[in-house]
Symmetry: C2
Subunit: 196 residues, 2 copies
């Protein structure tokens, strides 16, 4: 018997979910961040490499460290968000593969080439970023993902040793529906897909 998600679930994670730009004055509990991670970590990655690393900026001090890297248009809404998540990836994620892929002791070496490692970390760290967005919605949080910031400036501040690299940011909280823009159109099936 095949299960499918009910309509309310499809609405919650995809159909009615929106990117939020305004936030209610309501904090996000630490337990919510832990529940969020505990869901998203089950999403698949290449050889279970799990390269995403998350910094949840909750304090004003941490957000002020981020501010100089933000673009003008993303500044106010980001500093007002209860949580700003730096979705980063570990360029040496394969060092943990003996733990993450225990049945194949040589898996670490599949990613010895720095270019392959970088592409793999970016691709799979991005997949995990999408799992974060969906998992956040699944536990009742709203998201405001964005890539309008200066990655090099952020990395110099938060990841000075160069092992982690920033990918994108995702504001988290309880959105203010009044601040939503109208939903933009999506491509139709035949504009984006082909069956061969």
């Amino acid at each position: 018997m095949t299960s499918i998600l009910n309509d309310a679930g499809m609405d919650l994670i995809f159909r009615q979910a929106r990117t939020h730009n305004g936030w209610q004055d309501k904090p996000v509990a630490e337990v919510s961040l832990r529940a969020l991670y505990d869901l998203m970590r089950y999403g698949p990655t290449s050889a279970n490499g799990s390269p995403a690393r998350l910094k949840f900026l909750v304090s004003d001090a941490a957000k002020q460290r981020l501010a100089p890297a933000l673009s003008e248009g993303n500044m106010a809404k980001t500093l007002a968000a209860p949580v700003v998540t730096i979705v980063a990836y570990d360029t040496h994620f394969n060092d943990l593969m003996p733990l993450l892929f225990p049945h194949e002791p040589t898996a670490k070496n599949w990613f010895a080439d720095p270019a392959v490692r970088e592409t793999t970390a970016f691709r799979n760290g991005t997949l995990q970023g999408a799992y974060l967005i969906i998992a956040a919605r699944a536990i009742g949080l709203d998201c405001g993902p964005m890539s309008g910031f200066d990655n090099a400036k952020l990395d110099a501040e938060f990841f000075p040793d160069g092992q982690l690299k920033s990918n994108f940011l995702c504001n988290l909280g309880y959105g203010d529906p009044e601040a939503l823009f109208d939903r933009s159109p999506r491509l139709d099936f035949d504009e984006a897909c082909e069956i061969l």
Copy 2:
């Protein structure tokens, strides 16, 4: 009132979902592929750029065109899958931005730099690849995503004009639970996350 996904939903899309390597002899209906796309297309992308392009390989002829690009270890399970999805991205996705981001007529030019355009297409096409995985599970399909193939060989066969580039592959169908491997461990919160 905040809604959250029910337990069965969290199990279906994250906690109990597994990457499948064996497939039941049961086709995937075209209407399922259309339902899948109709969910995943609502996931957020930068400025709604929506760069992912999908080729659903259903016919034997299409799968045979793919075969030379597959790695040895991914060959048999991929040719046996009811559908093999090529998750690709459009390196000129911004040409469609007047349609996708109609309230900002200059948005197309934000991505004029080829390096920015490539990174944006890859990042957001990958987010959409993750939405595909989650949406497939949400409608009762099983997934087998993989990046073990020769991208250049695939692109030469399917995208000879160079505008689209392959990102990863995702087999789709109804998985054979007997062919599952044991689930590999995931990183704990404190190994992957920090609250600042």
